[in-house]
């Protein structure tokens, strides 16, 4: 009799008690393929933010590997949309974003990404939010540092043949020309190229005074190593791949002498404060060093959770909140420029030739003049 009464009471309680409905945030990122290093950082940043701030909202992150093909990304997105999410973290690979965006636009689901490819916010689909500064920010910082701080007049550029590489090269070509230091040499390098000597040899014939790089991690390390092995002592100003601790780990500190890189941030270069706390937590959780992609995606998902805490529940409400509010993240303050570009700051870090941890040499704030 007692058991029966208890069961009825429990059932009644369960029927009336508010049950927090869990929401899953799809994290659709390249964990395999040539962008797996950066994709893993993106995943880690998103997962850490959900774990840290999403408990009260019963948020959960579900990670899906998109590989590196547009088809893989589209399949992952279509499957994720079946769960009717209010937002999704989407690949940092530009070609995948360009394939996913029309589908997300039709479904009305905002995509949060750290892709650097300029075009994703230029095709008029208002459902994308980019938390990593695009080429229009970081390439401006890279070019200005090259000319104003390193005194470049005859720069050479090596860039990747991918959409990311071509987008960055286009910006650098134009900005360097505007700054009165046009490129004297440029070469596109496929991701599979291992021997950089042919490009370095032809580059030297153009007599450059600075090497600009816009390459992924492995190619960046190969160029720097082979240049130093050939006694090419020119200063090198690399793209954001160079700031990644895993890239620096491939090189000896003395090979890094005279090497600088642009980035959105450099978590391991921040010795104190909230970024340092993030770095410690990231190391403990994933057993690896965080990079700017991880921090940017962490900030992006943190802003999404802030939107939800502010009452945004549906995908449209989340989109509207992200588009109209600013958010003080760990790396910078994020605010949309009306196209979904949320990040407008950049840093340039440099190595001293003794350590694999770079120092932040210059901060470029509000490059696009949005904030």
């Amino acid at each position: 009799m007692f058991l029966k009464s208890a069961a009825i009471a429990l059932t009644a309680l369960m029927a009336t008690a508010p049950i927090a409905k869990a929401e899953t945030i799809p994290v659709l990122v390249p964990i395999t393929g040539f962008l797996s290093l950066e994709g893993s950082s993106q995943r880690n940043g998103a997962v850490l933010a959900v774990e840290r701030f999403g408990k009260d909202l019963s948020l959960d992150a579900e990670v899906t590997d998109t590989g590196t093909s547009p088809e893989g990304a589209v399949t992952a997105l279509r499957r994720a949309l079946e769960g009717k999410p209010s937002a999704a973290v989407a690949s940092m690979l530009g070609t995948q974003m360009l394939a996913m965006l029309p589908i997300a636009g039709r479904a009305g689901v905002p995509l949060l990404t750290v892709s650097g490819t300029a075009k994703i916010t230029e095709i008029g689909i208002p459902w994308v939010f980019r938390f990593f500064p695009g080429d229009s920010v970081v390439k401006v910082a890279q070019a200005h540092y090259a000319v104003e701080e390193l005194g470049a007049k005859r720069p050479a550029l090596l860039y990747q043949t991918t959409a990311y590489g071509q987008s960055g090269a286009e910006h650098l070509r134009r900005i360097m020309q505007d700054l009165g230091a046009p490129l004297v040499f440029e070469e596109a390098i496929d991701i599979s190229v291992k021997d950089m000597l042919p490009a370095l040899t032809r580059m030297q014939e153009a007599k450059p005074d600075l090497i600009l790089l816009h390459l992924h991690s492995g190619s960046t390390a190969l160029v720097i190593r082979q240049a130093r092995d050939q006694n090419i002592a020119l200063p090198i100003l690399a793209g954001s791949a160079m700031h990644q601790p895993t890239t620096a780990a491939l090189l000896e500190p003395k090979q890094l002498a005279g090497v600088c890189a642009e980035s959105a941030s450099s978590p391991i270069s921040e010795p104190e404060g909230s970024v340092e706390d993030f770095t410690a937590e990231y190391r403990a959780r994933f057993g690896t060093e965080p990079d700017a992609f991880a921090l940017a995606q962490y900030d992006g998902v943190s802003m999404l959770i802030a939107a939800k805490n502010a009452g945004a529940r549906t995908a449209t409400e989340v989109r509207d909140w992200l588009a109209s509010n600013s958010y003080d993240g760990l790396a910078m303050t994020y605010k949309s420029d009306g196209k979904g570009n949320m990040a407008h700051d950049a840093v340039v870090v440099c190595y001293d030739g003794k350590s694999a941890v770079p120092a932040i040499k210059r901060r470029y704030e509000n490059v696009s003049g949005v904030k």
């Binding site: 395999t32 040539f34 797996s36 290093l37 893993s40 596109a188 291992k194 021997d195 780990a249 491939l250």
Partner: protein, 297 residues
């Protein structure tokens, strides 16, 4: 371009081609023994690179020959993996349609790729150098010790493989099984044992290539496809099923790629390589040397 720069580029191409030759050699050994392409050959090279990274702490950093001391260990371990590979990815499907074998090896390659990603992470890693030290300078020419060591190691391994297959009883038995398994069985040779040995030898060579390449060019879980492609082209150019052809094809690719890229650009070099391959397939489909293998997959 100066003569010194050209010599430097040729040396680089030769070192790269020598490492490709080891991959192509293993590719042909399996092709001849199993009558099918092992599409996981590239991933096995990548695995060799990671095995050498995992074993590197066993060799004291102070030693002058870290990679050279590791080489037999890596080859032995990869040989064991090769024997296991034959029993997991080849024997269970070998009597099915030929497509089953290459699908099986593709699947095994993907498993290896994901395993490397899970265990070592996605970042490129640098393997141990064969020889410690920077290099030697001859006039204006700077040659890295690593490059010289790669070329010598590859030459020794290629010659050793040739001697083993040509001059030893086991090698002759392996070749007999490759040429006609039924006839070999009729005279008392055990085909399964010889095919297992062929996989072990081929994958040991892949492991050696992985070690040789991992220091100079790093290794990441996604490198397999590139190595496989180079091996496939080398074997197609050299002559399908020809051990000597595979080596010649690989050396030609290494030199062609670096030299043409130095004179034009990487994109032109790549486009020209595939254009020449197409021309060769049209006018000389058997490759530079006469074809020996039973069938192409």
């Amino acid at each position: 371009m100066t003569a010194i720069a050209l010599t430097q580029i040729l040396l680089n191409g030769l070192a790269l081609g020598a490492a490709y030759a080891l991959i192509a050699l293993g590719f042909v050994i399996v092709l001849n023994a199993a009558g099918a392409v092992n599409f996981a050959q590239g991933e096995l090279v990548m695995a060799g690179g990671f095995v050498s990274i995992a074993l590197a702490p066993l060799i004291a950093e102070a030693t002058a020959l870290p990679g050279l001391l590791l080489l037999p260990l890596v080859m032995g371990l990869m040989g064991l993996i090769g024997a296991g590979f034959a029993w997991i990815a080849y024997f269970p499907v070998r009597k099915r349609h030929q497509v089953a074998v290459f699908v099986s090896t593709i699947a095994a390659g993907l498993v290896l790729q994901h395993l490397a990603n899970a265990v070592f992470g996605a970042a490129p890693r640098a393997g141990p150098p064969l020889i410690s030290g920077n290099g030697v300078t001859v006039g204006a020419l700077s040659i890295s010790l690593q490059q010289i060591a790669v070329m010598i190691c590859a030459a020794v391994l290629i010659s050793g493989t040739g001697l083993f297959l040509g001059r030893t009883q086991t090698g002759r038995q392996m070749r007999a099984v490759a040429q006609d398994p039924e006839m070999a069985a009729a005279i008392g040779i055990r085909p399964k044992r010889m095919i297992t040995l062929s996989f072990a030898l081929a994958i040991a060579l892949a492991g050696a290539a992985g070690l040789l390449l991992s220091n100079q060019f790093f290794v990441s879980p996604n490198d397999g496809g590139l190595f496989m492609l180079k091996a496939y082209i080398a074997v197609t150019i050299g002559g399908w099923g020809r051990l000597d052809g595979a080596v010649i094809g690989a050396l030609l690719i290494g030199i062609f790629e670096t030299l043409v890229a130095a004179l034009t650009s990487y994109l032109v070099a790549e486009a020209l390589l595939y254009a020449l391959l197409l021309i060769m397939l049209v006018f000389r489909p058997s490759g530079l040397l006469p074809e020996r293998a039973r069938a192409r997959v």
